[in-house]
């Protein structure tokens, strides 16, 4: 009903499109006024083999190798993957498992580079200044080679989205400068300080997908960024189809699907991509990185990281080499003692709490937060029973019914949970944030999703095993039948000595069965 009213109001032009649900947060943008500083080069950089969504990379270097900044050190395996590059020049000192920002606490094979301090760049990639006259597929290959992945936090390989598909022409390119997570200010500062470079990147994207219309979306708590972008836009040639949209601040506006709905009034159908409705959405930081990759020929070796939190003495925005241990960044900002502090990788709403600060900055590190134990405790108090107040449903930007879903996950009614569209949950955390009973709803959904994925994997495995088992059974049956048939033939011709036959036959068949394929392996012995 309200949805209908809203649609009606939108049709009449009384109301701008806005995604359902959503909440207002305390933004805590402590570092909003802090200019981007360079964090320098750490003596040892740790580069995990997988920093994107998709297939892990494999190492191309060995211990003792000298590498240059920007040199590819791990190559991608498979389509959904981008390579890893050395983020400074130096020597490979070890390749072993190291902790990463993952809730399981498991490690990831990583390459350790000892910096030589010279920071010599690998300049094998030619800058493409004349990109307007370059074929989009070449630029796309450049984006892949340079290791670009969504720097907003999702780290989806960027090149995959930058494609021209005749069936799904991109009409609108959306530049996502929403940054709706509390504390984080990387995109904000980037837009204030490097608006022109971002616009270059956007122009490259629009050229690559063949679109002439673009929207730059910024929330109204970043007016300085909007002004800076507007100024840069007026000074830029050839970007007439682009305009800036300042949206009222609401979480999770920066989520791709929600933003697309707010700006275009269209929903990305379940199981489809934005490109299927003619939209491409890119994060501000990724756009800037694309510009550097094309115009400067630089691979992705650094990113901007907000370092903040209520327990951090000096919040800042740092330009950090990928692979820098975050403990050194905290030390730089005046935090050495982690005894009553919890470290969060990413924003407080969707980031991971880390078990310890000894992990490296990776491509997805939009921020690292030092939150006081008190702040964490306030968010994770004892779970009370659900009183079905419905605040979670009101807050849900995907129009799910979180409390019912959580009940289903908790009681392992996973099929029903899928039926309730569990997988449409974007894990934004709005439901948990508003829950008066402090129910960790997102945690239940993650549990449910994990269990369903597990069940699916087991299902596939079981099906394959069943087929192999049935195949084996039929083969044995067939072979037994053949053998019986042969034996009866043998019995007819060599009536006196039937017993000797099977053994020699088995021996004969095993001799020929030297192939390694299981289907043609030796006949199993008959049970006597």
């Amino acid at each position: 009903m309200p949805a209908m009213l809203r649609t009606l109001a939108q049709k009449l032009g009384l109301m701008a499109h806005t995604f359902p649900g959503g909440i207002h947060l305390d933004m805590h943008k402590l570092s909003a006024a802090a200019p981007i500083e360079d964090a320098g080069i750490s003596p040892v950089l740790i580069l995990p083999m997988k920093q994107h969504i998709g297939v892990p990379c494999t190492s191309m270097v060995k211990i003792g190798d000298k590498v240059l900044r920007g040199q590819k050190i791990a190559k991608s395996e498979g389509y959904l993957s981008v390579p890893v590059h050395a983020s400074t020049s130096g020597r490979i000192v070890k390749i072993e498992e190291h902790a990463i920002a993952h809730p399981s606490g498991m490690g990831m094979p990583s390459i350790f580079i000892e910096a030589d301090g010279d920071d010599n760049r690998d300049e094998s990639l030619e800058p493409i200044t004349d990109w307007r006259n370059v074929d989009p597929t070449i630029l796309r290959e450049r984006a892949r080679m340079c290791g670009l992945a969504g720097l907003g936090g999702a780290v989806f390989p960027t090149f995959i989205k930058l494609v021209q598909d005749r069936r799904f022409p991109i009409e609108t390119v959306i530049l996502n400068g929403i940054e709706c997570e509390p504390y984080l200010t990387t995109d904000h500062r980037l837009m204030v300080e490097q608006a022109s470079e971002i616009l270059d990147g956007m122009a490259i994207i629009m050229h690559m997908v063949g679109s002439s219309a673009g929207i730059i979306a910024i929330e109204d708590n970043k007016t300085d960024a909007a002004e800076s972008m507007q100024e840069a836009l007026t000074n830029k040639d050839g970007m007439d189809g682009v305009h800036i949209e300042v949206l009222p601040t609401r979480y999770p506006q920066g989520s791709e699907k929600q933003l697309i709905y707010t700006l275009t009034g269209r929903e990305v159908p379940a199981g489809k991509l934005p490109m299927h409705i003619g939209v491409l959405c890119q994060n501000v930081g990724t756009t800037k990185a694309l510009r550097d990759a094309v115009i400067l020929g630089q691979t992705l070796t650094e990113r901007i990281v907000t370092i903040s939190g209520d327990a951090l003495p000096r919040p800042a925005n740092l330009n950090v080499r990928i692979g820098t241990p975050i403990r050194s960044l905290f030390a730089r900002q005046g935090l050495e003692d982690f005894s009553n502090i919890q470290v969060v990788h990413g924003g407080p709403m969707m980031g991971e709490r880390l078990r310890h600060p000894d992990i490296p900055v990776v491509k997805s590190t939009s921020g690292i937060l030092a939150l006081s134990q008190q702040a964490i405790n306030a968010a994770h108090t004892v779970e009370n029973p659900c009183i079905r107040c419905g605040h979670c449903s009101e807050a849900c930007p995907a129009s799910l019914v979180p409390n019912l879903l959580a009940d289903l996950c908790r009681s392992d009614q996973l099929e029903k949970a899928e039926d309730y569209q569990l997988f449409d949950c974007i894990e934004c955390g709005a439901c948990s944030y508003v829950c008066p009973s402090n129910i960790p709803l997102v945690h239940y959904f993650r549990y449910g999703k994990g269990q369903i994925s597990l069940a699916r994997r087991e299902q596939v495995f079981a099906e394959a095993s069943r087929q192999r088992s049935e195949g084996r059974d039929t083969r044995i049956e067939r072979e037994n039948a053949e053998k019986a048939a042969r034996r009866s033939r043998v019995r007819k011709t060599h009536a006196p000595k039937p017993a000797a036959e099977p053994t020699t036959e088995a021996a004969a068949s095993t001799d020929t069965g030297s192939t390694t394929h299981p289907d043609t392996k030796p006949t199993p012995e008959e049970k006597s």
Binding site: H380, Y444, Q451, L454, S465, R466, P524
Partner: protein
């Protein structure tokens, strides 16, 4: 005589009526006749297909047949664990039963190749054709196909097959349920409060 007539009427009408009902049901039986027991496949679909025989039946399908026929309890599948048991109980509409044996962590069989004499006995024992090799050559177990049923361990004459815990992949890691650990935190928090006060 009156009562005699009444009795005859009663018996005759009841008999005639019963006959009619019987004929109708006989026809219906023809129309709604079903082949086999469709529940066997339904149960089989829930089983993990390890073909391990720990249930006491030679494989998953025979166990499914026994369960569907009401001959076997629902709690014999060890590798399936509690979830499989609950699903089968749910499907069969019976009360869930305690598992007799806890499911262990997923295992993989591994051949120590330098000790393998190439006897092919394990190949013959494997219910899912997950072992490859030829006589007098090393045998190898395809890890992706191994169900961890342990049936190959026994036949090996030189005991060169180990059962190893299946390594957990970071991509396959799943969040556990929140409750217990959260209440721990709540406990810590209460203590902390008490400490402050």
């Amino acid at each position: 005589m009156e009562s005699m007539n009444g009795l005859i009427y009663a018996l005759a009408s009841l008999g005639a009526f019963a006959l009619c009902a019987g004929i109708v049901l006989a026809i219906a039986q023809k129309i709604f006749h079903i082949e086999g027991d469709p529940m066997i496949d339904n149960v089989d679909a829930l089983l993990p297909q390890t073909q391990c025989g720990q249930c006491g039946y030679p494989g998953c399908k025979p166990y499914a047949t026994a369960v569907a026929g009401g001959e076997a309890e629902v709690n014999h599948c060890v590798p399936g664990g509690e979830r499989t048991m609950l699903q089968i109980a749910d499907l069969m509409g019976v009360e869930p039963k305690e598992l007799e044996q806890e499911a262990s962590a997923p295992m993989l069989a591994f051949v120590r190749e330098d000790e393998c004499i190439g006897c092919t006995l394990c190949i013959k024992a494997c219910p899912v054709d997950a072992i490859i090799g030829a006589p007098k050559q090393y045998h190898t177990i395809i890890a992706d196909h191994c169900t961890g049923c342990t049936l190959c361990v026994e036949p090996c004459p030189v005991d060169c097959i180990d059962m190893l815990v299946k390594p957990e992949l970071i991509e396959h890691w799943a969040w556990p349920l929140p409750d217990t650990k959260r209440s721990q935190l709540g406990h810590e928090r209460r203590e902390q409060h008490a400490g402050h006060a």
